[in-house]
C-alpha cells in the first residue's frame, strides 16, 4: 500500500504546509465571510500539520483546536490544541464551537453523512461550517485516493442540508485545484506516482453553511 498523497513529501513540496488547493486563501475567505471574532472557539477537522489551527489562532485570535487521525501527521505537526481523533467521532460535547473548518477532508471520511451529523452536534446553534473539498463530475467512487473518493457536489449539498445546515455560500475554486495539480506536475520526478487530482473533470468548491436553530 503506497502512502496516500497527503502524506507524501511531493505534496508538501507542492502545496506547502496546508497540503490543499488554494492554501490559506479559502480559509481566510471563509473566516472573513463568517466574521470570525477573537475568542471564538473554532475546530479544524482533519487538521494535518496544524497549519489552519495556527492561522486561526494567530490571525483571527480564535481559540482554535484541531483533530487529526494520523499519528504521522500529528508527529510532524506544530502548534497547540491538536488532538488525535476521527472526524466522524469528535471528542467534544454538543454546542461547543462557534465555527468548524473541514478543508479537503470530507470525502476522506468513511461516512460523510455521519461526519456532518457530528459537526452539527458540536457546533452551537447559528454556528458556521466552512467546507472546502474536491467534487467529482459523476458518482464513481472506485479506489481510495482523493480523486476517486470525491462525490458530485449536488450530493454533498444535499447531505449538508439534511444534516441541519443552511447553505449560505457556494463557490467554484476549481482553478485552485488545477494550480495545485500544476505545482505537483512541475515538481514530480520520474519515479513519482502522478497525482490524480487532475483526473476525471474534478473540481474544488468552498461552501459556508450555518447550523439552523
Amino acid at each position: 500500500m503506497e502512502q496516500p498523497l497527503w502524506e507524501r513529501p511531493v505534496l508538501r513540496k507542492a502545496a506547502g504546509r496546508t497540503l490543499r488547493p488554494g492554501g490559506f486563501e479559502l480559509t481566510d475567505r471563509a473566516a472573513n465571510r463568517m466574521g470570525l471574532l477573537p475568542g471564538w472557539r473554532v475546530l479544524d477537522v482533519g487538521c494535518g500539520l496544524g497549519a489552519t489551527v495556527n492561522r486561526l489562532r494567530s490571525r483571527y485570535g480564535a481559540l482554535a483546536f484541531g483533530v487529526e487521525p494520523s499519528p504521522g501527521q500529528l508527529d510532524a505537526a506544530q502548534g497547540a490544541g491538536l488532538v488525535r481523533a476521527q472526524g466522524h467521532c469528535l471528542p467534544f460535547g454538543p454546542n461547543s464551537f462557534h465555527a468548524l473548518f473541514c478543508e479537503c477532508v470530507l470525502s476522506l471520511l468513511p461516512d460523510a453523512a455521519q461526519g456532518l451529523g457530528e459537526f452539527h452536534c458540536v457546533l452551537r446553534p447559528g454556528g458556521f461550517l466552512a467546507l472546502s473539498d474536491l467534487c467529482a463530475p459523476d458518482a464513481d467512487t472506485a479506489g481510495n485516493d482523493c480523486a476517486a473518493r470525491a462525490v458530485p457536489l449536488a450530493e454533498t449539498h444535499g447531505l449538508v442540508k439534511a444534516a441541519g445546515f443552511e447553505v449560505l455560500l457556494l463557490e467554484d475554486h476549481s482553478h485552485r485545484l488545477r494550480e495545485l495539480a500544476a505545482r505537483l506536475l512541475f515538481s514530480s520526478g520520474e519515479n513519482d506516482v502522478p497525482c490524480s487530482c487532475n483526473r476525471r473533470g474534478l473540481g474544488y468548491y468552498l461552501m459556508i453553511a450555518k447550523k439552523r436553530g
Partner: protein
C-alpha cells in the same frame, strides 16, 4: 445546448437501440449477449443471461420456439440464428443456477389459480416481485406432461418447482378448482390471477381479459387469454399479468408506459454490406459444443456504428455519437470542475460524412460547431487550440498577402477570380497561370486574394468569420459586384453563404463550359479522384469535376468513400491544429483509400495527402502543367506557405500592375537565416515560422540578451512577440545565422529577459 436539445440528439443516434431479436422476443431475452458468451464457450455465463430473464428457465429455455427468428438480421445472410437450439444446448450443458433474488416483501398477497405453464410462470413472476404468492392447482405443469423426454427431460420441471418454492411461492396441489375457491381467494388476497387454460370455461366466465392489462370485470381479478399454445407467449401473458397486479396493488396507472412490454419495433440499423452469408449449423443428433459455438458465431452482434466505421475521428474516441453528444453537453454545462471534452469537440473535421451515412442523419459537425461557438462565447475555448490557424488567416488577409485589383489596364471587372488563401500558399505558379488563362479568355477579370474566413468559422468565432466576409463583400461591391470565379470548394461554400446575391461559379464548372486551356495535359492516365468534403453536397461540382478530368482523358477510379460520401483529408474543422496526431491518422487513412495517384480540386486535400506520403495532383497540375513531377511535390511547410502568398502578391503587382509593393518591411525580415535540415523539420512539427525565428534573432541582436554554450559555442536567445515565447539555438555566421534548434512555450516568464 439545452437539455431538450441533448435529448433530441441522443435520440437520433440509434447505436444503443435494442437489437431486433431482443425487441421481438415477448420476454426480451438478451440474445446478443447470450450468443456472444456461447461463441466463447462460456456456457455457464450464457445460462445466467437466460435465467435472469426467463421464468422457470430450465423448462422455458427447452420449449422456446424462438419467435425472434422472424426478425433476426442474419435471416438475409444465410438464415436466422437457431436460437432455440442454442438455448436447449445451454440448458443441457450449463451449471444450474439459483433463482433470482426476489424483491423485498411488499406485504401484499396474491393467489394464482391453475397450474399450467402460464400459472407457474405467473407464480414465479409474482413471487419475484415480492408478493406473498400461493399457487392453487391440481397437478403443477399439467399441460407439460405430454411432452416427449427429448423436449423436456425428466426432472427439469421438478427442479424449477423447487426454485419456485425457493422464490417463496407456496404450492397448494390437489385442490379442487371451482368458483368457490376464486371467491374465497378474492376475499383473502389483494389480487388473484387465473390460468384460464387450466380451468373450465364455466369457471372463468369473467369475459375476455383486457388485452393490455389482462384485468377482468372483477376488480383485482386477472386472467390469461384462452387458448395460447406457444410457451413463450404463455410466459409473456404471465409477466403482463404480474406487471398489472403490481400497478393495481400500488394504486398507480394500469395503462401508462406499457408500450415496451410485449414485442416492439426497434430503430437499430445493422449493415449487411460486408457480411459473408453462412447457413445455420445443422446436426440431427443435437448440437455438439463445436456446433453450438459455430452457430453462436454466426450472430452478427447487431449494432449500428455506421458513422464510426467510416470516420477515424469518431473511432478514435472509442464510443459513438450518442456518448459524444452527452460529453459535449456536460463539457458545456460544467460549472464546477474541469472540462474534459474540449479536444474531442475541437477534433471533429466538420466534414458532414456522418450525417450522410447515418440512417437517422446524425451530424457530429452540428454538435461540435455549436459547442465550439458556445466555448468561444463563454471564454472557455483553450487559447492554443486554433491560434496558429487564426494567425495564418490574419496573415492571408493582411497587407502582405491580400490584394484586390481590376485586371491590368481595366477600370471595371466583369469577373472576379478568387483562388483562396491555400492555393496561393501552396501553388502560386498555378494561380498565376490560371489568372492569365482567365484574362485571356474572358477579358476583364479582376483578382481578389483573400481568405474566405473558414478558419474563423471552424473555430467557432462567428464574429470574426462575419468580419472577414464583410471585408470580402466590401471589395466585391467596390469592384462593381462582378461574377465570382472560385477555385477552392471551401471558399465556394463560404461565399455562397456569405454573399447569397452574388453570381458565383466554381472555376471547374467554368472551365468545363469554356473548354480546356491551351497546354492542358491530355494523356490517357488512371487517377483516383478525391472529392474534398466541402463539395459533398454540391452535385453540380462533383459532376463538373469529373467531366473536366474526362476532357483531359483521365480514367477515373472512385475510392470506396467518394462523391457525397467522400472523407475529409484531416484539414477540415482545423483538426490538424487542435489534434495533430489524429490529423496524421486521418490523412494516412485517406491516403490508403486508393492505389492510384490521387487527383483533387482542393489544394489542402492535395497537400495533406502529400504529407501522408501519397502521390497526389491538384487540378491545376493537369490544367497548367509546370513540367516537373507534380504528384511528388512535397507539401510546403508553414513558413513557405506564408512566403508563397507574400511573393505571389509582390510578383503580380510588379509584373501585371507595374507597382512596387507598398508594404513596409519589418526590421526582422532582413535578418539572414539558414537552417539545418533537422531544425527545419523540428520547426514544421512545432509550428514555428521562419519569421518567428527572425524576430528572436533580431531581438537578440538589438538587446544583446542571450546565452552561450561553453562547449559548442551555440547561442540561445528568446523573444515573445505576442503570447508565445520562442527560443532559438543558433550559430553566428558572418552577418547571418545558422539555426540548429527552436522551441516555444506559452507560459510567460515574468520579470525575465523574455
Amino acid at each position: 445546448m439545452e437539455q431538450h436539445e441533448l435529448r433530441q440528439w441522443e435520440n437520433k443516434c440509434i447505436q444503443e437501440e435494442v437489437p431486433q431479436c431482443t425487441a421481438s422476443c415477448p420476454l426480451h431475452v438478451d440474445a446478443k449477449t447470450f450468443c456472444s458468451l456461447m461463441r466463447q464457450r462460456r456456457w455457464d455465463k450464457a445460462w445466467a443471461v437466460l435465467a435472469r430473464t426467463l421464468p422457470l428457465p430450465g423448462v422455458l429455455a427447452r420449449l422456446c420456439d424462438a419467435p425472434c427468428k422472424r426478425n433476426c438480421v442474419r435471416k438475409d445472410a444465410g438464415g436466422s440464428i437457431e436460437i432455440g437450439l442454442l438455448e436447449r444446448f445451454c440448458a443441457e450443458n450449463a451449471k444450474p443456477v439459483a433463482p433470482p433474488r426476489p424483491l423485498p416483501a411488499r406485504g401484499k398477497s396474491v393467489a394464482v389459480i391453475g397450474g399450467g405453464l402460464t400459472g407457474l410462470c405467473a407464480a414465479w413472476e409474482l413471487a419475484r416481485r415480492g408478493f406473498r404468492t400461493t399457487l392453487y392447482c391440481g397437478v403443477p405443469g399439467s399441460d407439460l406432461s405430454a411432452l416427449p423426454e427429448t423436449q423436456l427431460p425428466a426432472g427439469a420441471l421438478e427442479r424449477e418447482l423447487e426454485n419456485l418454492a425457493r422464490l417463496g411461492a407456496a404450492l397448494e396441489t390437489g385442490v379442487p378448482l371451482d368458483t368457490a375457491l376464486i371467491e374465497a381467494q378474492l376475499a383473502e388476497n389483494d389480487a388473484v390471477f387465473l390460468d384460464s387454460d387450466a380451468l373450465s370455461e364455466a369457471m372463468a366466465d369473467f369475459g375476455e381479459p383486457d388485452e393490455l392489462t389482462l384485468g377482468t370485470g372483477q376488480p383485482g381479478l386477472f386472467a390469461s387469454p384462452r387458448g395460447e399454445s406457444a410457451p413463450v407467449l404463455k410466459a409473456a401473458a404471465a409477466r403482463r399479468a404480474a406487471n398489472s397486479v403490481e400497478r393495481f396493488t400500488q394504486g398507480v396507472s394500469m395503462v401508462t408506459g406499457r408500450e415496451l412490454e410485449g414485442p416492439y419495433a426497434t430503430r437499430l440499423y445493422t449493415n449487411l454490406g460486408n457480411v459473408e452469408p453462412a447457413p445455420p449449423v445443422v446436426n440431427a443428433a443435437g448440437y455438439t459444443e463445436t456446433d453450438a459455438r459455430d452457430e453462436a458465431k454466426r450472430c452478427l452482434q447487431c449494432e449500428c456504428m455506421e458513422c464510426v466505421k467510416n470516420c477515424e475521428y469518431l473511432r478514435h474516441y472509442k464510443a459513438y455519437p450518442k456518448v459524444y453528444v452527452r460529453q459535449a453537453y456536460n463539457n458545456e454545462s460544467i460549472v464546477m470542475g474541469t472540462r474534459q471534452a474540449n479536444t474531442m469537440i475541437n477534433s471533429c473535421m466538420l466534414c458532414g460524412l456522418c450525417e450522410v451515412i447515418c440512417p437517422e442523419d446524425f451530424s457530429m459537425a452540428d454538435v461540435c460547431l455549436q459547442a465550439r461557438r458556445t466555448m468561444v462565447e463563454k471564454g472557455t475555448m483553450p487559447p492554443s487550440a486554433h491560434e496558429f490557424a487564426l494567425r495564418d488567416m490574419a496573415f492571408a488577409n493582411g497587407e502582405k498577402a491580400a490584394l484586390a485589383r481590376h485586371a491590368p489596364g481595366a477600370d471595371a471587372s466583369e469577373y472576379l477570380f478568387f483562388p483562396g488563401c491555400q492555393l496561393t500558399a501552396s501553388d502560386p505558379g498555378g494561380v498565376m497561370a490560371a489568372y492569365a488563362d482567365l484574362r485571356q479568355r474572358l477579358g476583364a477579370v479582376g483578382l481578389l486574394l483573400h481568405c474566405c474566413g473558414a478558419p474563423a468559422e471552424w473555430s467557432g468565432r462567428q464574429a470574426l468569420a462575419g468580419e472577414t466576409m464583410a471585408e470580402i463583400r466590401g471589395h466585391w461591391e467596390r469592384m462593381g459586384k462582378p461574377h465570382l470565379v472560385v477555385s477552392c470548394p471551401t471558399c465556394l461554400k463560404a461565399l455562397r453563404q456569405g454573399l447569397p446575391e452574388a453570381e458565383i461559379s466554381s472555376h471547374w464548372s467554368l472551365l468545363r463550359a469554356l473548354g480546356l486551356p491551351d497546354g492542358a495535359r491530355q494523356q490517357d492516365t488512371e487517377l483516383a479522384i478525391n472529392d474534398p468534403c466541402a463539395a459533398r453536397h454540391d452535385a453540380v461540382l462533383l459532376e463538373d469535376a469529373r467531366a473536366l478530368l474526362e476532357q483531359m482523358q483521365v480514367r477515373i477510379t472512385e475510392p470506396e468513400l467518394s462523391g457525397e460520401r467522400t472523407e475529409c483529408c484531416g484539414y477540415g474543422g482545423l483538426l490538424s491544429e487542435a489534434n495533430p496526431e489524429l490529423a496524421k491518422a486521418v490523412r494516412e487513412r485517406r491516403a490508403q483509400a486508393a492505389d492510384e495517384d490521387f487527383v483533387t480540386y482542393c489544394v489542402m486535400c492535395r497537400d495533406m495527402l502529400a504529407k501522408a506520403g501519397k502521390r497526389a495532383l491538384h487540378f491545376y497540375d493537369l490544367l497548367y502543367p509546370a513540367g516537373e513531377d507534380s504528384a511528388a511535390r512535397p507539401a510546403p511547410g508553414y513558413s513557405a506557405r506564408r512566403e508563397n502568398r507574400a511573393r505571389l502578391r509582390e510578383t503580380l503587382l510588379a509584373e501585371l500592375w507595374r507597382e512596387e509593393s507598398e508594404t513596409e518591411t519589418a526590421p526582422h525580415e532582413s535578418v539572414r537565416v539558414e537552417f539545418t535540415e533537422q531544425a527545419r523539420d523540428i520547426m514544421e512539427e512545432r509550428r514555428i515560422l521562419t519569421s518567428d525565428v527572425q524576430k528572436v534573432l533580431h531581438a537578440a541582436r538589438e538587446t544583446g540578451a542571450c546565452f552561450v554554450h561553453k562547449e559548442t559555442g551555440h547561442v540561445l536567445a528568446s523573444h515573445r512577440p505576442v503570447v508565445v515565447t520562442y527560443w532559438v539555438e543558433y550559430e553566428e555566421r558572418g552577418d547571418g545565422f545558422l539555426v540548429h534548434n527552436a522551441w516555444s512555450h506559452r507560459m510567460r516568464v515574468k520579470g525575465g529577459a523574455s
